[in-house]
Symmetry: C2
Subunit: 124 residues, 2 copies
Amino acid sequence: MQDSLSQTFAALADPTRRAMLAQLTLGDANISELAQPFLDRMSLPAITKHVKVLEKAGLVVKSRDAQWRSCTLNAEALRAVADWMEQYRSFWEARFDRLDAYLKTLPKKQKSEGAKNGRQRKAK
Amino acid sequence: MQDSLSQTFAALADPTRRAMLAQLTLGDANISELAQPFLDRMSLPAITKHVKVLEKAGLVVKSRDAQWRSCTLNAEALRAVADWMEQYRSFWEARFDRLDAYLKTLPKKQKSEGAKNGRQRKAK
DNA sequence: TGCACATTATACCTATCGGTTAATTAACCT
DNA sequence: AGGTTAATTAACCGATAGGTATAATGTGCA
């Protein structure tokens, strides 16, 4: 997996782990608490593994308190994802793809034909 | 993998595939063109597989033109990711992460009793 | 001292991932 | 028809992902 962006994406590519992150937005939680919604579906060691994946990706920080491990959301780790996403935002947010990125930086202006699309080829 | 958000995240969790998406922001490309930067590292069938992953995730649309398959970026598919990310933005964007998280949940402060971790940073 | 509880480690299983080589399909071009 | 090119399929491989059951670790407490 190597690079950390890939690691983060991989960590997010699982509904159980995303649900855990969602729960952590409501506050820290220890393993048992994090596990509770899933215990009808999977075992505790499975939970531990999921948490470890989140931890390695930097999305969660664990601290120990006696026999409990308190997990904290570290949303910082999502910034890299957000930054990566940003380069694509203009491609989905407006109809006039790349032009839109430019227009956003200016006061309202009118759009002249969106086909500014640098993208056709077929030049065979 | 089931859910499409997981599928999208999984598709993005590979540097080769992300590089392909990046190239597609510059314009459509067929398989050979997409493959070109990677052919010293991997074979053409490997490329085909990567493209197929992107296609199944909806990130790329393929159209055929004689023996060529023209690939187009479909950034629409990234919107679901962006929407998901949005719910975490406040957790990394503000300088006062923790405080922000706390403020957002202020209305439901009645759970402070039972839950040992209701939300507070644990005066350790 | 010793039990109960929270969590992790170990060992194992199956399925999927990312890659390979070799063969196949499909279209074009004389 | 035959050859070249673009892309895919098929069969295979080793590594990893996600899960299991069970054993081990570490801490608080009666």
